[in-house]
């Protein structure tokens, strides 16, 4: 392992303070016990049914994401800084959305190129000029962070649509508490189990102005064949709201109704886990069977709230990403607390030639790609792969961005031979409604293969419980 990677637990031979007790814990745990516990964890995960299927990948739909029992730890001061940075970013992203669907001041001011916004596939003409309740577009902002040093955090990407994975944050904690109650006695760990309640409050707070009672919130799922269905039903259950499919809803008289055994019941807020294109066949893809015909007319006339708002994706595009620090300055008049990874946009001539000359050292991503697909990791790629990307980028430069290969931090991880450092990232979930909230924790993803920097669960990544220590 290259010494240039930041190891979150060890500073040379010294154990960093937040990991001190975990050191004892692992030292005192015999290998057999560890294996037993690992097996127990798997049984627990299977029993609760938390599984993950990669879309379009085939294979076992009941596959588990590997869970690593070694927690990832943040100190209170570390977290406070992250929290400020994340909230700041979530506010700026929402201000940007409100602006570009309204007056477009940031574009007029020349701070973000007009073309990048208005000629963007994710810009939704159908919602231009409409202001959602409280001016919030992205109610759940998932911000992917990586760490490269004690105080160096970078934002890898923003997820303004429907970031998934929060059920792992909650279940990982649940399982750890069940298996190692002593650890939670020894360490003072901030709880994360308030998330569902907080989410429900956030969603209720953006009910339409027409709603004059306790709002009815539902989660809209594409159905039980969707890879994230477990998460949808888990959240619905934890929040105590109905999990609906498109066919359970209909519109009438300017409102949305759900079909219940007691007759139609009015719905005020829809937390949708469905892409824009499928929401309403009358407004978007006419062949969509998953959505609710007429939903967008009700939405735009103020009869129902949709979270996140259709069109929110224009803020989390990988090309727009470059301008987020600019948004923070423009809308909030503050300096960004969290840094962006330096990014070259292949659509710019100067950047393009740099990228093509340095493919071997860069990470290249598709502007609209996700899940670690359509990505080139230069230092680990074959010359054929590099040649292929050179061709792809030259043909459609606007579709690609490039970033330096980041030295992702490592945390100790249980592997076959014992404990070894593995690279990790972090996705906290920021909630935006009448207030901005962040539970102290998030989803830590870990690249389980030695030396790998790809943490996506579809490509050999696992998950860890993420601790924020109380003071």
């Amino acid at each position: 392992m290259s010494p240039s990677y930041f190891n979150e637990m060890f500073d040379g031979d010294q154990v960093r303070p937040p990991y001190a007790r975990l050191e004892d814990w692992t030292r005192q745990m015999p290998a057999e016990l560890r294996q037993m516990k690992q097996a127990e964890a798997e049984v627990l995960f299977r029993r609760i049914g938390i599984t993950f299927a990669v879309y379009g990948e085939g294979g076992d739909p009941d596959r588990l994401i590997p869970f690593d029992m070694f927690p990832r730890v943040f100190t209170q001061p570390e977290w406070r800084r992250l929290e400020k940075g994340i909230k700041q970013r979530a506010r700026a992203l929402n201000a940007f959305l409100l602006d570009v669907y309204g007056k477009g001041e940031i574009v007029r001011a020349g701070r973000v190129p007009a073309r990048l916004v208005y000629h963007n596939e994710a810009y939704e003409r159908a919602v231009a000029g409409f202001t959602p309740p409280r001016g919030v577009y992205s109610h759940i902002v998932g911000i992917d962070l990586v760490r490269t040093g004690p105080d160096d955090f970078f934002v890898l990407e923003d997820n303004c649509r429907t970031p998934s994975g929060v059920s792992y944050m909650l279940e990982n904690r649940e399982i750890m508490m069940r298996m190692f109650p002593d650890l939670f006695g020894e360490n003072r760990i901030e709880p994360v189990d308030g998330y569902p309640e907080l989410l429900r409050r956030t969603l209720s707070s953006v009910a339409p102005a027409k709603c004059d009672r306790d709002p009815t919130v539902v989660i809209l799922t594409p159905g039980h064949f969707n890879s994230a269905y477990y998460e949808h039903s888990f959240l619905a259950d934890m929040m105590g709201v109905e999990l609906v499919e498109g066919a359970d809803l209909f519109v009438e008289g300017g409102f949305v109704w759900m079909r219940t055994t007691e007759g139609p019941k009015k719905v005020d807020v829809i937390y949708r886990r469905l892409d824009d294109a499928f929401l309403d066949p009358l407004c978007f893809r006419p062949d969509s069977m998953l959505g609710v015909p007429g939903l967008m007319d009700v939405y735009r006339s103020g009869g129902v709230s949709i979270c996140s708002a259709p069109g929110a994706g224009v803020a989390d595009d990988k090309a727009i990403y470059t301008y987020v620090p600019e948004m923070v300055r423009f809308y909030l008049g503050e300096e960004p607390i969290l840094q962006n990874v330096p990014t070259w946009q292949c659509g710019k001539a100067g950047d393009l030639s740099y990228v093509l000359d340095n493919l071997g050292e860069l990470v290249v991503k598709e502007v609209h790609g996700s899940g670690g697909y359509g990505m080139l990791v230069g230092p680990r790629a074959s010359s054929d792969q590099i040649a292929l990307f050179r061709q792809k980028i030259s043909q459609d430069p606007e579709n690609y961005i490039a970033q330096p290969t980041l030295a992702l931090s490592t945390t100790p991880t249980f592997v076959e031979e014992g404990i070894a450092p593995r690279h990790v990232d972090l996705r906290p979930y920021c909630l935006v409604g009448d207030t901005i909230e962040l539970v102290p924790g998030g989803l830590t993803r870990v690249a389980l293969t030695e030396g790998s920097l790809v943490v996506n669960s579809s490509q050999g990544g696992g998950v860890k419980d993420t601790w924020v220590l109380a003071e």
Partner: protein, 270 residues
């Protein structure tokens, strides 16, 4: 000119449908060229839903009909006072920036023939307005008016290859050509009062608008070789014909739908 519109769309289903939902853009645009004297949109037996003005300035109204539905009618009756604005959409309020209308859709994706037509037409043009006029003339010359050759899903590229089509095709070819030159362009649906010259065009009509800096959106009716004047009633716009459709609806159930449209325009002397 005062134009009276009677527009009824009948839907029939060969098996009862569980329910029907419609999104209507059947209201005259508010701009300097037209003033609504009276206007009514109705679906007998239906329930009026949410109504709003969208970012492109179009008024949209949702409707729903409870099942079983075997037939439904969307009826529009009203009177508009129109005025010739030389095709310019003056006094129109909208939020969507023109640049948004540079986006291609499957129906308006330009192929080589459209690009060539566009490039050839504007060679030597003095400014964007001149370019827009030349494009409209070139499309009129390239595509002859002939009903029955194309259908609702014919793309601009296909229509140009056939060299024949109806107003929808003229509009879409013009839009594709304009966008290929980086001129924002959009599809407009509305009515045309055409009784005077006895041309065979239907009263339900469509044309294109091209955005010209400093002047704003300007209408071009390539099918008739002119800019919309007091004989036109503008309803709504979109990226292409499907996106600008004045009626979008869906009926849930197994029945097959048949459609029957009657549009009548009358002029009243002032």
């Amino acid at each position: 000119m005062i134009l009276t519109v009677n527009h009824v769309t009948h839907y029939r289903y060969d098996a009862p449908m569980r329910s029907a939902v419609q999104s209507l853009r059947l209201f005259p645009t508010r701009f300097a060229g037209q003033r609504v004297l009276d206007w009514k949109v109705e679906i007998p037996g239906g329930t009026r839903g949410g109504a709003f003005r969208d970012g492109a300035g179009d008024r949209v109204e949702g409707w729903s009909v409870r099942g079983p539905v075997t037939a439904l009618a969307v009826s529009v009756t009203g009177t508009v006072e129109t005025e010739d604005t030389a095709g310019m959409l003056r006094g129109h309020r909208e939020t969507v920036p023109p640049m948004v209308y540079l986006r291609d859709t499957p129906a308006t994706e330009p192929d080589m023939a459209i690009r060539d037509l566009a490039a050839g037409a504007v060679a030597g043009a003095s400014d964007d307005l001149d370019r827009a006029h030349r494009l409209a003339s070139a499309v009129r010359a390239a595509v002859a008016y002939r009903p029955g050759v194309t259908h609702a899903h014919t793309s601009a590229a296909e229509a140009l290859e056939l060299r024949e089509g109806v107003c929808q095709d003229h509009a879409q070819v013009l839009i594709a050509a304009a966008r290929s030159l980086d001129l924002p362009a959009r599809y407009v649906s509305g009515y045309l009062y055409a009784a005077e010259d006895g041309t065979p065009h239907e009263a339900a009509h469509a044309w294109a608008e091209i955005h010209v800096p400093d002047l704003g959106w300007i209408g071009f009716d390539a099918a008739n070789g002119c800019c919309p004047n007091e004989l036109y009633v503008r309803l709504g716009s979109g990226y292409d014909a499907a996106d600008a459709a004045p009626i979008r609806g869906i009926a849930l159930g197994a029945g097959r739908e048949s459609l029957d449209v009657t549009v009548a325009l009358e002029a009243t002397q002032q």
